[in-house]
Symmetry: C2
Subunit: 465 residues, 2 copies
C-alpha cells in the first residue's frame, strides 16, 4: 500500500482512535491482514487494507464514517466475512468496518412475531433463541452456523427454506441504517403490514453495504408449526428427469419447505465422501425434499408423482434421526465436492422454474465442451442453481473455467434468469450489471448510490460498477 | 380552472392527440368530470382537471408524459380509481392518465408460478383466470372485484389473506415502469429469487404513481392447496377479549389464511343488516377465521383456545356453502356499517400484534370522549385495524371526527405502529410523513422522488408532501 505516508497513517490512526473509542483497531498487524483477504480461493486479492476496525457500539460506527469522510477512505463493511462474491474483503487503502462484535439479540417477542437484533448476530444463534420460545427465524442459508443477520440482509441471502418462506427480504420488518454522513435512519418498523413511505427497507436489503451501515434489524419470527416434519430423498436418471419431477411436485399444491437437487457428479462425490452407494450411473440425480408442517396426506401424493417420473430409491420419513441423516447429505454436499479438487468457484444463478431442465442440460454441455469439472446442486424448488467449477494447478481460475462461467451467465440471462439468486454481486459479478439490468437501470443505480453516499466511500467497486 | 387560456387548452389538446393517437381523450366533458372527483365522500375535491386520457397502449403513455413535460402539467395516474386516500382523483389543471383499458393478462404460466399482466387487470379477474389453471393470486383486498393490479401495486394493497400470504409487495416478481422522461425500465423478473440489483421493484411498489407509470406487472401465482378449506366464527365479550384470543391463535403454530375482527358496534350493524342476532351486548365482538389448507387437526386446537378465552357462538365448518355464509358476514360489514350514517371515513392503521387490545381500547375511549360514531373492523392477525368514523349533516368531516382521527393516528404511532397498513398515503395522510417517518427519511423521500421525476409531474402532492 503506497497511498499513505507513514505520517499520514499515524494521523489517521490517532484520529480514528479518538472518533471510535470503543473499537478494536488493528493497523498493519496479523489480524488486519487476515481480514483483508480471509483466505478466499479467489486469487484476486484487493490490496492491503489500512485498518481493521471492530466497532464496539453505534457511536464507533459514526466515528469510523467521520474518519472516512475526513481522509476520503473507502469503508468495507464486514460482519462474519462469509461473502462468496468478494463482497467484504479489504480494498487497497480501505478501513474494514466490522460490526461482528455487535452481536446481541436486543429483543425477542413471540407476541409481536419479531426479534430486534444487532447486525453481528449469527443466523443460527437467532434461530435457536427463537426456538426456545416456540418461534423460528425462517431463512436458512448454507452458511447459517457462521453467517450473520447483518450479512444476510446485505446480500438478501436465501437458503433451503426459501421455497416456502422466501429469502431474507421476505423476513425483515425494519432496519436501522447509518448513512455515510453519520445520520441514522429508522426504516420500516414492528408491524406486519406497512404502506406508508417508499420501501427503503427493501432498498437497503441486498444493497451490500454500498448505501449505509446496517445498525439494527427487526426480523420477522414465525410460530413453530404444529404439523409433523417429513423429509425424503429420491433419485432420477438425470437432472432433466429430476426437473420434470420438481415441476409436478410444485404444481401439486403441496407446500414444500425444502426441494433440493444434487446432480450426478455431486451424488458420486457424496457416495465417496459418505461411503454410500446411491449413484446408479454418472448422471443419477438426487432430490431431497421436506415439509415442516405436514398433515399426513403428503406422502402418498409425493410417492405417486415420484413413481410417475421413474424415480427410485425413495425414502420418506418423519423420524427425526432418520430425517437428520437425509438432510446431512445436503449439508455434506459442499465438503464432498470441494475435496475433489484444490480450487473452485461456486456459482449462483436462478432461472424461471420451467427452464430448470434446459439450464441443467446446458451446464452439462458446457462442462463437456469446455472440459471443466462442474458439480451442480441447487434449490430446485426456486429454480436456483449452484454449479461449482473445480480445477487444480493454480489459484487463478484457468481460461476454460472463466469461459464456462461466462457461458453459464449468458445462458441464464437468455432464459430470463438472474446471475445472482442469493449470493449478491460483490466484485465477482458487478461487471455484468448492464447485461443483466440494462443501461437505464445501471444509471439509476448509480444515481441512488450517489444520493446515499455522495463521497463514494461505502464499499466502493462492489455491487455496482 | 383558470390556469390555461382557451387557446392554450386547444394547443395542448392537439399536441396530446398527436402524441397519444390510440388514447380516448376527454376534455371538459361529463366523463372528464366524473373521473376528476369520482363521487368520493371526502369533500376536498382537488379542482378541475384539464383532461381525462384513457390510453390504448404503452406508446400513448409515453405521449401523455411527453405532453406533460412539454406544458408542465401534473399527471394523475389512475386505473380503477378505488383509492381511499385521495390518491387518484384529479388535481387542478392535471391530466388523468388512465391505464384502465390496458387490462390484458399477457401470460399465465403455472409452470413458472407467475402471470404477466397489464396494470388495468382487475384483481378478481386475474385470480379467477389463475384458478382455472390450478393456481391462485393471493392478495385479496376488499376491493378485489373492482380494483386493479396496477392500483394494488401502487398502494401495496393488503387484504384478508395477508395473514398468510402477505401484502401485494410479497406477491410481485417484476415490474415494467415508465419514468417521467419516457424511459421504460424492466425491474425484477421471472425468477422466485433475485439478488442482483438494488430492489427497485419494491421501491416502486407502494409508490402511488409518484415515481413512474406501471406498464406491466409480473405477479407470483401459487398452486391451489390440496388441504380442505375451513372457516369459522366466534364471539368475545369485547375487542380486548378478542385480541387476547387472537394472540393465542397466532402463537399456536396454526397457519391461518384469515383472522378478521369486527367490534361490537359493527356486529350490531351487521345484525340489523342481516336480520341476525349475534350481538349479546353492545360490545360483543366477532372473530372470523379460516384455513385454506387445513389438515384436519386445526378444529380441536382452535376450539380449545376459543374456550380458554370464553368465546361463544363458535361455528366451524368445511362445508363450502356454510363457509360462504360466514365470509359473507365479513363482506357485508362495510355496507352494514355505512348505512348507519350519511358520511364516513374508513381509516387504516396497523400496530404491533401485542398492541391490538390497547389500540382497540383506545378507539373506544376516543369514540366516547369525542362523541364520534366509530365502527372498528380489521385484519386482526396482522394488527391492521379499520375504524370507520361516521357522521351526518354535512359532507365535510366535523371537528370532532377530525380530532378523533388525529388522536388515533398519534396513538398508533406511539405504539410503534403505522398510520397506513394497506391503503397507502395519497393526500389524506402525507402531512403525517415527518411524524411517522422522521425528518431524515422525509428528506430522502424527496430526493428519491426528484431522482425519478425531476419535473415533479407525477401525481404531485400525493404520498410525499
Amino acid at each position: 500500500m503506497t497511498i499513505f505516508t507513514a505520517n499520514t497513517k499515524t494521523e489517521i490512526l490517532n484520529y480514528l482512535k479518538k472518533q471510535a473509542p470503543h473499537a478494536k483497531i488493528h493497523f498493519n498487524d496479523q489480524v488486519a491482514q487476515e481480514h483483508s483477504a480471509n483466505g478466499k480461493a479467489q486469487s484476486d486479492i484487493q490490496g492491503e487494507i489500512l485498518a481493521y476496525v471492530a466497532v464496539g457500539d453505534i457511536e464507533d460506527i459514526r466515528g469510523v464514517l467521520k474518519t472516512a469522510r475526513q481522509f476520503h477512505l473507502p469503508i468495507v463493511p464486514q460482519t462474519a466475512d462469509t461473502s462468496t462474491v468478494i463482497g467484504a474483503d479489504g480494498i487497497d487503502g480501505s478501513i474494514i468496518l466490522s460490526v461482528a462484535r455487535l452481536n446481541h439479540i436486543k429483543e425477542l417477542s413471540p407476541e409481536d412475531s419479531l426479534a430486534v437484533v444487532e447486525p453481528g448476530v449469527i443466523n443460527q444463534d437467532l434461530d435457536q433463541a427463537a426456538r426456545k420460545q416456540g418461534m423460528f427465524y425462517a431463512p436458512d442459508p448454507a452458511s447459517k452456523p457462521i453467517s450473520s443477520i447483518g450479512g444476510n440482509v446485505s446480500t438478501n441471502a436465501g437458503g433451503m427454506s426459501g421455497v416456502k418462506y422466501g429469502a431474507t427480504k421476505d423476513n425483515i420488518l425494519g432496519l436501522k441504517v447509518m448513512l455515510a454522513d453519520g445520520r441514522e435512519l429508522s426504516l420500516g418498523g414492528r408491524t406486519l403490514k406497512q404502506a406508508f413511505g417508499y420501501n427503503l427497507t427493501q432498498l437497503f436489503i441486498g444493497s451490500e453495504g454500498t448505501l449505509g451501515i446496517i445498525t439494527e434489524i427487526t426480523v420477522r419470527l414465525r410460530s413453530l408449526p404444529l404439523g409433523d416434519a417429513i423429509t425424503g430423498i429420491a433419485f432420477f436418471k438425470d437432472m432433466t428427469a429430476l426437473a420434470g419431477g420438481v415441476k409436478q411436485l410444485r404444481l401439486s399444491g403441496l407446500n414444500f419447505s425444502m426441494l433440493e437437487a444434487l446432480d450426478g457428479k455431486t451424488v458420486q462425490a457424496l457416495d465417496k465422501y459418505e461411503q454410500t452407494n446411491y449413484a446408479k450411473s454418472a448422471t443419477s440425480s438426487m432430490l431431497i425434499f421436506g415439509f415442516d408442517d405436514a398433515s399426513g396426506s403428503e406422502k402418498a401424493v409425493v410417492e405417486k408423482i415420484l413413481q410417475d417420473n421413474q424415480a427410485w430409491g425413495v425414502q420418506i420419513t418423519s423420524d427425526k434421526a432418520q430425517a437428520q441423516q437425509l438432510i446431512k447429505l445436503r449439508q455434506d454436499m459442499l465438503p464432498a465436492v470441494f475435496e475433489q479438487s484444490k480450487y473452485y468457484i461456486m456459482e449462483d444463478m436462478a432461472v424461471p422454474l420451467s427452464k430448470l431442465a434446459e439450464m441443467t442440460d446446458y451446464i452439462t454441455k458446457v462442462a463437456e465442451e469446455q472440459k471443466v469439472d462442474i458439480y451442480t446442486a441447487g434449490h430446485a424448488g426456486d429454480g436456483n442453481l449452484h454449479p461449482s467449477l473445480l480445477w487444480n494447478d493454480q489459484p487463478e481460475a484457468p481460461d476454460n473455467v472463466k469461459t464456462a462461467v461466462r457461458l453459464l451467465f449468458r445462458k441464464t440471462l437468455s432464459l430470463g434468469g438472474t446471475i445472482s439468486g442469493e449470493h449478491a454481486v460483490g466484485m465477482s459479478k458487478n461487471q455484468w450489471t448492464v447485461e443483466e439490468l440494462g443501461n437505464d437501470v445501471d444509471q439509476i443505480q448509480h444515481q441512488i448510490k450517489n444520493l446515499f453516499d455522495p463521497l463514494g466511500i461505502l464499499n466502493p467497486k462492489r455491487k455496482i460498477n
